[in-house]
Amino acid sequence: MLAFLLKRLLNAAFVMLAVALLAFMIFRFFGDPVEMMVNEQATQSDRAELRERLGLNDGLLTQYVRFVGNAVQGDFGISYRNQQDVMVLMAERFPATFELVIVATVLSLLIGIPCGVLTAVYQDRKLADGLQLASIVGVSLPSFVVGILLILVFSVTLGWLPAFGRGDTVDIGWWSSGFFTPSGRAALILPSISLSLFQITLVMRLVRAEMLEVLRSDFIKFARARGLPLSVVHWRHALRNCLMPVITLTGMQIGNLIAFALVTETVFQWPGMGLLFIQAVTFVDIPVMAAYLMLVSFIFVLINTLVDITYAYVDPRLRSDASVKGGVANGH
């Protein structure tokens, strides 16, 4: 188990170094950082001094190592646009994106899993057909179209829910949360539905495929031979055996959702990292872009690693070798 953990962590570190290289290249070669930072009146010697101060005259490797060192400490420099510390900017925006993604993920599981089981179990019934159809619509509609439709129906026409923004937030330390105010919760509904729709259909299709596979296995036949009701056979024995890929998918998709939140945040003017990134792009605010890239990648890698480790816990067969041999002696 320890060797496994170490291997996974080394893997993760390596991936992050590669991403850092990419971010560094953008930082270093997308236009001249000095030109971006100084104003028009700066003299040649001002520029040279800044160049020296930023360490741009050092060797590339030295600069890269310094970039990584700073990144590890959360230092991505100063935003070109509003002269604020990039990491502070990110930290302000992160809770908004994170809460949106978490709610969307929970929604996708709460709706996707039961729908997947139902479509697998009642294969030739109307309900199953309806859900299948809905899932096809779900996969094929682009997320910004869904967002705009939702706004049109629930905000403009019915006037039930806000069309943009995050509502009121409550600060808990540096974290600003929208969970604790009515307007914050109301503001979460439309964006999270819009963000989760694709994910719901993904979970549903995966669960359905896995269920159909598992339902053919011997232990399901034997569970029925033991006289267990179909509900127990389906929802306890079969479903549990489908969850592993769902965990993986959900984990992997959290990274995707954070990336996709970019679109949702733009449609709903949600003050998250994605919106910050879009604004940074329009102003060629390289430090913010580099930080966003690093942060999103870091979340990706972190989640993948956690998923791999969770795997080992959900499936007893993947746990330590000692208990697999399982003599009487090494019980609990």
Partner: protein
């Protein structure tokens, strides 16, 4: 008749397919008494498993019971609804399948699966169910049950796992156990232990056991009576000893010839020429006729019925009469 736990009369199992209706089990009649083990032998595809599944009401659609009657201790069960059958399954009739590796859910401890089954059928509390699970585990010969009960299936060896499966079958003291090739997936040395266990449980508890296998050796050691199936029909049925010593149906004769140790003297191993026909092209008359050395004219026209003496063969029939 009163002692019969299972009675099957003229059972017919069909699979409607695009190419037409396939008959996997055709006109099978048999009965098993309390404390009796009925062996069912036959080649792969003979319809042994389908017979067992039909009794349990676990035929996979589109498979279905087309005709025939099944009684469990006098109660007609072939027409029950899914729910009514479900109540019987596990409680009054239980099953043991071939592969203990895949019969148990890998994600639950054996204790979870035992307790779940016990509580499904008996109204007992958690602790009582767990105690019963422990008792069952020691009864089927699993050492150190108090430790083993919290282990997962993959932590058991094949033989131990099959003992767990047997314990699961015993949870609610069923009257009938259908064991479909319970030892096929196990090492030879373990096979004897498992069949021995089944035999002991059957005698001690007065259960009826249908033991499906294609191993005549297992039958000879374990069963009281045996039915030989061929292409969905019973070719011969009778006491094990008589059937092994003096097989009458030409197919049984061939089957016995193919087993070296049972006949005692080391004579040449005979093989029945040819293969069992596929369900799509069963020949007219007796389905064994293409491979039979003793066929008479009638064999090509009319399907032989199982006689009172337990043989379905026109040639044997004629011999008796003359």
């Amino acid at each position: 008749m009163t002692d019969d736990v299972l009675v099957v009369e003229d059972l017919r199992v069909e699979f409607p397919t695009r190419k037409g209706v396939l008959t996997a089990v055709d006109g099978v009649s048999l009965s098993i008494k309390r404390g009796e083990i009925l062996g069912i032998v036959g080649e792969s595809g003979a319809g042994k498993s389908m017979t067992g599944m039909a009794v349990l009401g676990l035929l996979e659609p589109p498979g279905r019971i087309a005709s025939g009657k099944i009684w469990l201790s006098g109660q007609r069960i072939d027409q029950l609804s899914d729910d009514e059958l479900r109540v019987l399954r596990g409680k009054r009739m239980a099953a043991i399948f071939q592969d203990p590796l895949t019969s148990l859910n890998p994600l639950f401890t054996v204790g979870d699966q035992l307790v779940e089954t016990i509580r499904q059928h008996l109204s007992v509390g958690k602790d009582e169910a767990r105690q019963r699970a422990l008792d069952l585990m020691s009864e089927v010969g699993i050492p150190a049950p108090t430790v083993r009960i919290d282990h997962y299936p993959h932590q058991f060896s094949g033989g131990m796992r099959q003992r767990v499966v047997i314990a699961l079958a015993l949870c609610a003291e069923p009257e009938l156990i259908i064991a479909d090739e319970p030892t096929t997936a196990l090492d030879v040395s373990i096979q004897a232990q498992i069949t021995g266990l089944l035999k002991r449980l059957c005698k001690e508890r007065g259960m009826a056991v249908m033991l499906v296998t294609h191993d005549m050796g297992v039958i000879a050691e374990t069963a009281d009576r045996v039915g030989v199936m061929y292409a969905g029909r019973l070719a011969e049925i009778g006491e094990v000893e008589a059937l092994v010593k003096t097989p009458r149906h030409p197919y049984t004769v061939g089957l016995m010839g193919a087993i070296p140790s049972l006949t005692g003297d080391v004579k040449e191993l005979s093989q029945i020429p040819g293969n069992m026909p596929r369900l799509t092209d069963i020949p007219q008359g007796c389905s064994f006729n293409p491979r039979c050395s003793r066929h008479v004219d009638r064999c090509f026209v009319e399907v032989p019925e199982l006689s009172h003496s337990g043989v379905a063969c026109w040639s044997v029939d004629e011999e008796r009469r003359s």
